[in-house]
Amino acid sequence: MKADIRVALVGNPNTGKSTLFNALTGLNQKIGNFPGVTVDKKTGICQLTDGRRAEIIDLPGTYSLYPKSKDESIVFSVLAEKGSELTPDLIIIILDATNLKRNLLLYTQVADLKIPVIIALNMMDMADKANISIDIDLLSRRLGVPVVPIAARQEKGIDELKQAINHANKIALQVDSIDVRTLAPALIADIEAETQTDNPYFALQLAHQHEHLKFLTTEQSNRIEELEKKHDFHSQKAQASETIARYNYINDVLYDTVQTPQTAHEESLSNKIDHILTHRVFGFIIFIGVLLFIFQSIFAWSEYPMSLIEDGFVWAEGILRGVLPEGPLADLLIDGVVAGLSGVLVFIPQIAILFAFISILEDTGYMSRVTFMMDKIMRKVGLNGKSVVPLIGGFACAVPSIMSTRTIENWKDRMITIMVTPLVACSARLPVYTLLIALVVPNKNVWWIFNLQGLALTGMYVLSLVSAVIVAFVMKFVLKARERGYFIMELPVYRMPRWRNVIFSMYERSKTFVLQAGKVIIAVSIILWVLSSYGPGNRFEKIEQTYSQPQYTKTMTPDSLARVISTEKLENSYAGVLGHVIEPVIKPIGFDWKIGIALITSFAAREVFVGTMATIYSVEGDADKIDSVQEKMRRAKNPETGQPVFTLAVAFSLMMFYAFAMQCASTVAVVYRETKNWRWPAAQFAYMTVLAYGMAFLVYHLLR
C-alpha cells in the first residue's frame, strides 16, 4: 500500500526518537537497508487522523549533518537527494526540551535545507520537572515552523503531532537561520550554478560531503572538488565558523523563549546515581555483578525455551516421518531442512534475552557509563569500552553478541570486536569440553578444594578470553583506522527502561537473525546432511547386503544391527571419505580419520561433535547419554598400534581445535550480515583455522 506523505524522523541520539517512532507506527514497521550501505533503515506506516497514511523513515540519530559515522552519513544523503524513493515531503525533528541549545544546532542545519519541518519538542514532562519554562508559541514564531510539545514515553502529544502532519505545508516556511552565503560566497555561487540549485546550504554541504554522496555523478563530484581548490576551501575551518554562527543565532532565539534555572533537579539525582555506579571500587563490582547476572540469565532462562524448541522439532520430525513416504525426499526434509531449521530457531531464546538486557542497559543510560569506565583498559588492546558487552555475551553465544556490536560507532573498534568475539568460549563448546575433559582428566581434587576437571574447564574459559585479547591487540596494528579515534560521548541522564522498546528490540533482532542467518545455516545443514548420508558408488548397498545375511540378522537384535549399519554407512559416506582424505592433514595434530568425520559434521555447529562420536562408536540407546559415548571413546584403540585413540595429548589437541576453529555456520552467516562483505567472515575463518591447527599441533606435541 502506498503512503500519502513521506516523513523523515530526525534528531539527536538520546532524545526519544525511537520511542516516538514506535508511538507513531506501532507494529507497522519494516527493517531494511538504505540502498548501497549497511545502515539499517527503519520505516513504518502511521495512520493519520484524517484517514491518510504517512510513511515514517527513522533516520539514525546524529548531533549534526556533518557525519561522524557511517550511520550518520545517511542522514544528509537521504534529506538532500531529490526525487528518490526516500526523499521526504516533510521532516519531523525531535528536540530534547531539557537540552534545547545543543539540539537546535541540528534543527538549524536541517531547516536550512528548506524542506517543510515540524518540531516535536520531546521530554516536556522532564523540562517541567526541571523548572525549564519554554514559550512554545514564541519559539514557533521565531523559527517559523510548528512546534508540538510531546512526551513520547507517556504517549502525550502524539495525536497533536499527527494533526500537525495533516496540516503540514507543502512548501518550507522556516525563517533563515544564519547567512550561509557569507561562509564561502564565491564557492557557494559556483556550486549552485554547477548543480542547478538555489539553496546555498545544500551547495555548501555538497562542498563538504560530495566524496560520500551516491547521488552525485563522478563528474559532478570532480567538478566540485576543482571548485573547492579554486576557492581555497578548507572544510574544517568552514565547519567551525558555521557552528559558531549557528550557536550565536540559537542564543538569540533562546534568549527570551526559554528560562532555565541554575541547577536542574533531575540531573542532580542522576549525579548521585553516578557517584555509586562509576565509583572506583563499587563501580567495577556492580558492573561485574551486572555482567554475571546477564551471563547467568542467558544460560538459565534460555534453557527451558531452548529444550522446548528442540522437543518441538523432535515431535515435528516424528510426525513427518509418519506422514511422508520413506525415501530420500523425506530424509532430506527431516534430517536436512527440519534439522537445519531447528539449529537456527534454537538460538532465538539466547538472542532475545541478550538483546532484552542490552536494550535495558542502553535505555537506562548505564551502557554509556560502562563505556566510560572501561574505555581506558579496552583501548590498550585495540577495543572500545563498548566491546565489553559483546565479549562477555560471547560466553553464551557469539551470534547475538556480534549483532550487538552495532553500538560501537568506531569502525575499526567494531571490526576487531567482531573478529575476536567467536574466540570466547561459547555454550556450544561446553558439551565438547565436558566430554573430552571427563575422558582424560582424572576426577580428583588437588590442594583440597580444586577439582582437576573443574580446573581444566576453567582453564579453557580463561584461555578463550586471553586469546581474544591477544588477537585484538595484534589486529590493532593490522587494521587501518578509517577515522581518527575519539571519545566525545554524551552521558545521558539515568532513566527507567521503556519496556515496549525492550520488546521491540527482542522481536526485531530475533527476526533479523532468523531471516538473514537462517538461509545460510539451512543451506550448510543440507550440504552436511548429503555428505553424511550418501556415499560414493554402491558402498551403501553393499553394507545393506552384508548385514542382511543370516549370520548378522540371527545373532543381533534389530536395534544393535541398525546401529552397526549406521556406523558403517557414516564411515563409508562422503563425510567418511572426506575424513580419510583429510587424515594426512590432521595426523600431525593427533587426529585419525574418525575424528576427521566429526570435524566435518560439526563444521556447522560444534555441539554436533558429541552426536557424531556417538554414531561413529555405535553408542547404544540415547546419543545424549554422554557416559556411554565416553566409555566407547575410552575403549577405542588405534588398529595399528593397539594404543588408545584418546590420549591426554589427543583430547587436549581436540579441545584446542574446538577452542579456536570457527566451527559455527551461524557465526559466519551473522558476521557476513553485519559486515556485508564476504571478506570479513573469510578472513576470520582463515585466521581461526590457522590458529586452531597451530595450537592443536603445539599442545599435541607438548603433551605427547
Partner: protein, 71 residues
Amino acid sequence: MTLEDLAVGQTGVVKEFTDLEMSVKLMEMGCLPGETITIARIAPLGDPIAIHVSGYQLSLRRFEASTIILQ
C-alpha cells in the same frame, strides 16, 4: 591552562582550541568559546573524564580535554 588541568568540581570557561578537527566535534556538542565547563567526575582508571557543559553531561578522553584552552 587546559581543561585537562582542572580537578573534579572545578569550573573553567572555554577560550579556544588547539586542534581544529577536535574543535569542530567539541563545538557541535556544545563546548563553545565562552561556555562554562565543570568537571563532573573522572573515570575510575583516571581516563576519560566527564564534564557538565551547556546543561548536560559529556565524557571525553584526557587527550581531547587537553585541546581545550581555558580563559
